[in-house]
């Protein structure tokens, strides 16, 4: 007598064990939508709905998730558009995607949502984006179809929606790891035997040590993001790091406090990505001791700058970077501003490269692939990513959601998406819920560390 298939709520509780504090978790339609209810309070992770909803628990009365159940936005949740959702799914920001495929194969291929009635039509929704973008893909499925056939197959019998993307299968009878070596049965549900699970799986399973599935839901607390000061927030920046430095040209919108911290740490060989290579001090913004990238250059910390305005507007007042460059101490990559912004956006959104018309047929296009699309000339530019990003917000909540003031928004939101570690300095840190979900510009899932900017730095927004 074989065991009884698990209730979906128990499957969801087992899925919850895959999560970790602060994880960004994307849910596809179907069984995955049971996950929010399984989590004790929904907080501690970022649940992503592809309808443009970050940070929710469910079910509840307020808004629709991917399955048209209603869910409740948590304090600190935010709304966003589908293009940004695509970037969150694809750009290395999503830790775990939970999907309900119709079939999974021994090498991790899957067929998403289809039925006999759909005549081969497939409804990918965001499932394909999730599968190709997430660090870990969890397939949640009934082990068998209603007719008793297996959903887990040596090879999918229908065209696949993802090739080799599934990492773990959690069914209503077992947990199976998927790797290049095939499928390994690691857990079985209570009441089942290994032989029974093997018998209803239409793919070879390797078996070494099999545990009984547990259903305890882990307690998940959002990791603390608030750091006491700039030095603490930056102390692990390694030598030779690529660092996004925000701001435009003047001192506004620039993370002065973090920049000073970086200087005081003295870490060398930095590669800065920034709109300028530090011209605020020489471009006539008044105060002679304005803080900009120059403090890092003068401290011999900068090996390279990627910038759109690398030089001072005045030849008689060269910037520290220009002087260092002329002495042969630094490298420079000049990129038009829109291309710089787009390269950052693509780096953060998982777009490897893009064709832009900017600079085609000029020096800026040299050495790059040129292509005519629809009769227009384009050049191929690649996405940019960084190790660290220092940005200047106006307010952040403790989850890392950030709002800006005025034009200091410019490069900040896009830079925040491209770095492994994003550090934000703000005038004020508030509790989750104090920034409205419609108002948040940089969602907290992009932000790792927050520091308060001391009052002596507050002259510029």
């Amino acid at each position: 007598m074989p065991g009884k298939p698990l209730d979906p709520s128990f499957v969801a509780r087992r899925v919850a064990q895959e999560l970790f504090p602060g994880a960004v978790v994307a849910l596809g339609p179907g069984l995955p939508c049971g996950l929010p209810s399984a989590l004790r309070n929904g907080s501690g992770v970022w649940l992503v709905s592809d309808s443009g909803f970050l940070g929710f628990q469910g079910p509840g009365p307020e808004a629709a998730d991917g399955e048209f159940q209603t869910v409740v936005m948590l304090s600190g949740g935010a709304y966003t558009g589908v293009v940004d959702i695509g970037g969150i799914l694809r750009g290395g920001h999503t830790d775990i995607a939970v999907l309900q495929p119709a079939q999974v194969s021994a090498n991790g291929d899957f067929v998403h949502w289809t039925t006999a009635a759909t005549l081969g039509l497939f409804a990918p929704g965001s499932a394909v984006d999730m599968a190709y973008g997430a660090s870990k893909v969890v397939a949640v499925i009934p082990h068998q179809n209603a007719d008793g056939s297996s959903t887990i197959l040596g090879q999918c019998s229908l065209p696949v929606d993802g090739a080799g993307q599934v990492d773990i299968i959690i069914s209503d009878a077992a947990v199976i790891n998927v790797s290049q070596d095939g499928l390994e049965l690691v857990e079985i549900a209570p009441g089942w035997t290994v032989d029974e699970v093997v018998a209803m799986t239409d793919a070879p399973l390797s078996i070494s040590s099999v545990k009984e599935m547990g259903f305890e839901v882990p307690a998940l607390e959002m990791p603390n993001k608030v750091y006491p000061n700039a030095l603490e927030a930056l102390k692990d920046v390694p030598e030779g790091s690529i660092i996004n430095v925000d701001g435009f040209a003047g001192p506004g919108g620039m993370a002065h406090y973090l920049m000073v911290g970086l200087r005081d740490l003295g870490v060398k060989g930095l590669q800065l990505i920034s709109n300028t290579a530090g011209v605020a001090r020489v471009s006539g913004f008044g105060a002679p001791n304005i803080i900009d990238h120059s403090i890092l250059v003068e401290n011999n910390q900068v090996a390279k700058a990627t910038a759109s305005y690398p030089v001072s507007p005045s030849a008689s007042r060269p910037s520290a970077f220009e002087e260092a460059y002329n002495r042969g101490e630094t490298e420079l990559e000049v990129v038009p501003q829109g291309t710089l912004a787009e390269r950052l956006r693509c780096g953060g959104a998982g777009v490897a490269a893009f064709y832009t018309p900017t600079g085609a047929g000029t020096l800026l296009g040299e050495g790059k692939e040129a292509r005519s699309i629809g009769g227009k000339d384009y050049i191929l530019e690649t996405g940019l990513r960084a190790d660290f990003c220092i940005i200047r917000g106006h307010k952040a909540d403790t989850l890392g959601n950030v709002v800006y003031k005025g034009t200091s928004r410019n490069f900040n939101p896009v830079m925040a998406t491209t770095a492994k570690i994003t550090v934000v300095e703000v005038d004020e840190i508030v509790e989750p819920g104090e920034l409205g979900p419609e108002e948040i510009v940089t969602p907290g899932l992009f932000v790792d560390r927050i520091v308060v900017r001391p009052p002596e730095f507050s002259a510029y927004l």
Partner: protein, 233 residues
């Protein structure tokens, strides 16, 4: 694309009716429709399109896999026979079907099924002047068939080209008379990128306020992308 008329300016951007706001939609036009399969769709504009009766349309939208009862949605427009083709990540509900499935099955409707993130990125590219993008999504599946592939960082990527359209039908909560717009909740979803990717954009809004009535920090779609406004009520 050629037969789209000059953008009217006599009454500013505000049009009295959906039909008036849809002036110039021509046979064979491509139309972006914002909303989320029955939620936050520009219903009045969809209805207006049905009343105008213009045909051979190509719709680009989230799909028609759900619809609120009593509402005129994508499925209803498809049922009129005015739609020749639909580009969508979820064209109909695989289990519940509907007019989109029926007309596709009978060969009267062409479907191009695209992963949501790919569609969003293609529209964004169209609106932002990018010719094409290399995406990891769908490599080694049917979504990559016939497309150029290229490895980046050891991972296969698929070349997807920009998508633009003749018209975009949008739905916002509040606009000012200049066309700056804000959305409510997930109603934001497709609107901002669709607003950038069409020759003529028409937005159906709950409320119109004077310039200055919207906080500049909160505007999501800037007025330069909006050509026509019509009241949703």
């Amino acid at each position: 694309m050629t037969s789209v008329p000059e953008k009217p300016t006599a009454n500013g951007k505000i049009f009295p009716t959906a039909q008036a706001a849809l002036e110039g939609v021509f046979d064979g036009a491509s139309v972006l429709v914002a909303g989320w399969s029955g939620s936050d769709e520009p219903e009045k504009l969809l209805r207006g399109l049905g009343e105008i009766g213009v045909g051979n349309l190509t719709l680009v939208c989230q799909g028609a896999w759900a619809q609120k009862s009593g509402q005129f949605g994508i499925g209803d427009l498809v049922a009129t026979g005015q739609v020749k083709k639909m580009v969508s990540p979820l064209p109909f509900h695989p289990e519940y079907g509907g007019p989109v499935k029926d007309r596709w099955k009978s060969g009267e409707l062409e479907l191009e099924v695209v992963p949501q993130g790919v569609l969003a990125e293609r529209l964004r590219a169209g609106g932002a002047g990018i010719g094409g993008v290399f995406l990891p999504t769908g490599a080694r599946t049917r979504f990559a068939e016939g497309k150029e592939l290229r490895p980046f960082d050891g991972k296969e990527h698929v070349l997807e080209f920009a998508l633009k359209a003749d018209f975009a039908l949008l739905r916002a909560k509040t606009a000012d008379t200049l066309g700056n717009m804000v959305y409510e909740g997930t109603g934001r979803n497709w609107n901002p990128i669709m607003a950038m990717a069409a020759t003529v954009t028409v937005a159906e809004v709950d409320q119109v306020v004077e310039p200055g009535g919207l906080n500049p920090e909160l505007v999501i779609t800037q007025a330069i992308f909006i050509d026509r406004l019509v009241s949703a009520v």
